[in-house]
C-alpha cells in the first residue's frame, strides 16, 4: 500500500518535471543552426520525406505534425516552429532531448529529406491543397502474363483526360491485417505504369487476390483502385494438424491421453474398490 502511494507521487513528480523541461528554450549552437540543407525540394524528396515521417515521427508528432500523437510533442505547423532554420531542425533531430530521441544513427540524407517534408506541414495540413487525379487499372485476364497496368490522369477544364507523368503508383495485395507491397513504379509520359505481378502469393481457396493500387504523390490527392485477380495460389488450408504437445486438446498425443487416462482409471478404480469395502463393513455390521 505504502509503496503504491510512493510510486504515484514519483510518477506525478516525473510528469511535472517533463512539462518543465518542455518549456525550457532549446538553444542550438550558432554554427549548427547555420547549416544549409543540401537537398532541393522536389516531388521525390518530399515523397521520401513523407514516408520517413510516417514511419519515424508520426507516432508522437501526429499525421499532420500537430504534435497530437501518443505522447505530447512539438506542433510542427506553428509559425514559431517553422521559423527555425533547416540547420536548427537538423541539430535538434540528431541531438534529441527528453522524450524526443536522437536520430544520429539515421542516414543524414533521410533527415534532410524529412526536414523538407516538415516544411510542407506549415500552417496545418488543411491548407495544403492537393490536386485531383484519377487512377484506373487495366488488366487483361485472358493474357497468360500476370501484368497490371495503371493509368493516371486528370480532367482538364475542357473535360478531357490529360495523362500525368512521373507519378508514383504503389501496388499492394490485401492481406488479413494490412497491405502487402508488391512493387511501385512511376508513370511514363502517357500516364501509364506497368507492373509484372509476382507469382507465388497465396490467395483465397481458388487463388483470388485483392489487388490495391495507390496513387502516392505529394502534389496530388491519393487515389485507390481495386481489382480482384486470379493470380494467386489456391489456399488449400494449413498442413494437416499433427498430434503434438503444443496442439489443442483434441490433438493431444495418444501416449499422453493413454497414460493419463489409464493412471486415473487405476487410481479411481482402487478408490472405488476401497469404498465398496466400507459398504461391506456396513453390511457386516447389520448381520451382527
Amino acid at each position: 500500500m505504502r509503496i503504491c502511494g510512493n510510486s504515484i507521487i514519483i510518477m506525478l513528480l516525473l510528469a511535472c518535471s517533463l512539462d518543465v523541461l518542455a518549456f525550457e528554450p532549446w538553444n542550438v549552437p550558432g554554427p549548427e543552426g547555420g547549416r544549409k540543407n543540401p537537398l532541393k525540394a522536389d516531388k521525390n524528396v518530399i515523397e521520401n520525406g513523407r514516408i520517413f515521417f510516417m514511419n519515424t515521427c508520426k507516432a508522437c508528432h501526429g499525421e499532420q505534425g500537430l504534435g497530437n500523437g501518443v505522447i505530447k510533442a512539438a506542433d510542427m505547423t506553428t509559425a514559431k516552429f517553422q521559423s527555425q532554420t533547416d540547420g536548427e531542425l537538423f541539430y535538434k533531430i540528431t541531438t534529441g532531448r527528453g522524450q524526443m530521441p536522437s536520430f544520429k544513427a539515421m542516414n543524414s540524407n533521410d533527415l534532410w529529406q524529412v526536414i523538407i517534408f516538415i516544411r510542407t506541414l506549415a500552417g496545418g495540413a488543411k491548407q495544403v491543397l492537393k490536386k485531383n487525379a484519377m487512377l484506373n487499372l487495366i488488366i487483361d485476364v485472358n493474357k497468360p502474363e500476370k501484368q497490371v497496368t495503371g493509368v493516371v490522369y486528370f480532367m482538364d477544364e475542357a473535360g478531357q483526360k490529360q495523362p500525368l507523368e512521373k507519378i508514383k503508383v504503389g501496388f499492394y495485395v490485401q492481406r488479413m491485417f494490412g497491405l502487402l507491397p508488391v512493387g511501385s513504379k512511376y508513370t511514363n509520359d502517357k500516364g501509364y505504369v506497368r507492373l509484372d505481378f509476382p507469382s507465388g502469393i497465396i490467395g483465397d481457396t481458388i487463388g483470388n487476390l485483392n489487388l490495391v493500387a495507390k496513387l502516392e504523390d505529394a502534389e496530388y490527392k491519393s487515389a485507390d483502385a481495386l481489382a480482384t485477380v486470379k493470380w494467386g495460389l489456391p489456399n488449400t488450408g494449413l498442413k494437416k494438424a499433427e498430434r503434438t504437445l503444443w496442439a489443442t486438446n483434441k490433438l493431444a498425443p495418444v501416449w499422453l491421453i493413454l497414460s493419463f487416462t489409464l493412471t486415473l482409471l487405476v487410481i479411481f478404480g482402487v478408490i472405488i474398490y476401497v469404498l465398496l469395502q466400507v459398504r461391506k463393513i456396513h453390511r457386516l455390521g447389520k448381520i451382527v
Binding site: 510510486s7 499422453l256 487410481i267 457386516l284
Partner: protein, 448 residues
C-alpha cells in the same frame, strides 16, 4: 473429573477416557483460539471480496511477477500435505510402531493443507467464476491440468486414509458420547458404518487400509513432483532444472515433519497427552527431521552448486541475485537458519526434547515458507528478453496488504480445520493404541 461430564463411559478403559476426554470438553483457551482464527478468516474474507470486486490489481502481481505469494503459498501447502504419506504410509508399511500416535495428526494436517492448497489456486484466479472452464477446456498436455487432477485425487485419498482408521474410534464415540447434541451423534452413527468390531469387519477394514497405504505413496509423490513441473517445464532461469521433482519432494518431507512436531507439542500440552505423545516420540521425530533435512540439503547443493559453477548467462544473473543481490539476506537466512543450523542443533539429544525441537521446527517451517517464495518469485525477474520500457512497479514484487491478509486467512483456515477436527474426533487412534498396549502387556506376561 470424569463424573462431572455426562457420558456413558462407565466401562471405558483409562486409555479411552484419556483420549476421548478432549472431544468431551472444550477449554476456554481453545474457544479463544478458534475465535482468533475466525477473526483472521473474516479479515481475509473482506480482503478477498475487495480483490474479487476490484480485480487482481489489488495484489502486487504484474506482468513479470505474474505469480506471487499465493502460488508460493500453494507450493508450501502442497509440501506440508505430503507428511500424511510419510508418517502414515511409509512408517506404517515399514511396521514402525512408535509412529502410531502420530498418524492421525499427520493425516489431518495433510487433508487441511491440500484442501487449502486447492483453495489458494482459486484465490489466485482473476476470474474464479470461470473455474469450471479449467475442467471443460483444459488441455491434457498442460502440467497445470495434471496438477489440478493430482491435487484433487490426493485430497480424496487423504480423506479416505484419514477416515478408515477412524471408523472404530467413531464407533466408540457413538457408543460412549451420549450427552452430545443430536446432529453430532447422528454424524457419528452415520460415519461409524455399523462398526461392531467383529473379526470379519476388522479383516475387511485392515485390507482396505493396506490398499490405501500403498495407493497413497505414488499419488503423494506425484502431487509434489507435478507441482514442481509447473516450474521445471519452463525454460526460465532458476526453474529450468531436472532435479526439481526430488528437490521439492525432499523439501516437502522437511516442512511436513516440522509441522507434525509442532502439532504434537500443541496437542500434548492442550489435551494432556504426555502418556501417549512421549519424549521418545519427539526424539524419534527429531531424528526423522534431521534425516529429511540432510537429504534436502544434498538436493540444495545440487540445485545451487552445479548451475553456480557454470554461471550461464541468465541462470548466473538469477543466482547472483540470490547469493549477493537483493534477495541474498532472505536466501542466506533461509539456508542457514532454516536448514543448516537445525541439522546441527538436532544432532544433539537435548535439542530433541519437546520444547527446543518445537521451537526449531517453527523456524524450519518459516524458512520453508520463505524458500518457496525464493523459488517462485526471483526467477520471474530474469526473463529471456530484458525488462524494458515498463512501469516502475513491474520491476519488483512486494506483496500488498490484501495478499498478505488473504494468505494469513488461508493459514488460519488450515489451523481451523485441524482444530475443529480434534474437537469432533480423538486426535490419537484410540482403539489401535489400546490394542498395541494390550499386546505389549501380553508379550510381557508371556515373557516374549
Amino acid at each position: 473429573m470424569t463424573n462431572e461430564v455426562p457420558f456413558a463411559m462407565g466401562e471405558a478403559s483409562e486409555i479411552q477416557k484419556d483420549l476421548i476426554m478432549p472431544v468431551m470438553k472444550v477449554s476456554f483457551k481453545e474457544k479463544l483460539w478458534t475465535r482468533l482464527l475466525m477473526v483472521i478468516i473474516l479479515v481475509a474474507t473482506f480482503a478477498y471480496i475487495k480483490q474479487l470486486t476490484t480485480g487482481l490489481g489489488v495484489t502486487a502481481m504484474r506482468d513479470y511477477s505474474a505469480w506471487g505469494i499465493y502460488i508460493s503459498h500453494f507450493v508450501f501447502l502442497v509440501a506440508v500435505s505430503l507428511i500424511g504419506a510419510l508418517v502414515t504410509a511409509i512408517l506404517k508399511l515399514l511396521k514402525i510402531k512408535w509412529a502410531t500416535p502420530l498418524t492421525r495428526i499427520s493425516e489431518i494436517i495433510s487433508v487441511a493443507a491440500v484442501l487449502f492448497a486447492a483453495i489458494t489456486i482459486v484465490v489466485d484466479m482473476g476470474r474464479p467464476d470461470r473455474l469450471l472452464y479449467v475442467f471443460i477446456h483444459g488441455r491434457i498436455q498442460s502440467p497445470i491440468i495434471w496438477d489440478v487432477t493430482v491435487v484433487n485425487t490426493y485430497l480424496i485419498i487423504s480423506l479416505i486414509l484419514l477416515y478408515l482408521p477412524l471408523i472404530p474410534d467413531i464407533a466408540l464415540l457413538r457408543d460412549t458420547l451420549t450427552g452430545k447434541p443430536n446432529w453430532q451423534r447422528k454424524l457419528y452413527t452415520l460415519l461409524a458404518v455399523n462398526w461392531k468390531g467383529t473379526a470379519e469387519q476388522k479383516k475387511v477394514l485392515n485390507r482396505a487400509i493396506g490398499i490405501m497405504l500403498v495407493l497413497v505413496l505414488p499419488v503423494a509423490f506425484s502431487i509434489h513432483t507435478v507441482t514442481s513441473w509447473l516450474f521445471a517445464v519452463n525454460m526460465r532461469a532458476g526453474w529450468n532444472s531436472t532435479i526439481f521433482g526430488p528437490y521439492f519432494v525432499s523439501g516437502a518431507f522437511v516442512v511436513g515433519a516440522a509441522a507434525v512436531i509442532v502439532a504434537m507439542y500443541v496437542y500434548r500440552k492442550t489435551q494432556k497427552l504426555q502418556d501417549y505423545i512421549t519424549d521418545y516420540h519427539f526424539d524419534m521425530m527429531g531424528k526423522l527431521l534431521v534425516l529429511t533435512m540432510v537429504i534436502y540439503f544434498y538436493f540444495n547443493i545440487n540445485e545451487f552448486l552445479v548451475p553456480g559453477y557454470k554461471m550461464e548467462r541468465l541462470e548466473g544473473s538469477e543466482l547472483l541475485e540470490l547469493f549477493m543481490g537483493g534477495h541474498a539476506p532472505v536466501f542466506w537466512i533461509t539456508q542457514i537458519a532454516g536448514l543448516i543450523l537445525p541439522i546441527l542443533l538436532l544432532v544433539f539429544k537435548p535439542m530433541r526434547k519437546p520444547l527446543p525441537i518445537m521451537l526449531i521446527s517453527l523456524v524450519v517451517i518459516a524458512g520453508s515458507w520463505l524458500k518457496r517464495v525464493l523459488i517462485v518469485i526471483p526467477a520471474q525477474f530474469h526473463p529471456q528478453f530484458p525488462i524494458q520500457n515498463v512501469p516502475k512497479n513491474f520491476h519488483y514484487y512486494h506483496p500488498t496488504f490484501f495478499e498478505l491478509a488473504i494468505t494469513m486467512g488461508i493459514v488460519a483456515g488450515v489451523l481451523l480445520v485441524i482444530t475443529v477436527f480434534s474437537r469432533l474426533f480423538p486426535i490419537i487412534l484410540v482403539v489401535e493404541t489400546e490394542e498395541e498396549r494390550h499386546c505389549k502387556i501380553d508379550n510381557k506376561a508371556t515373557g516374549r
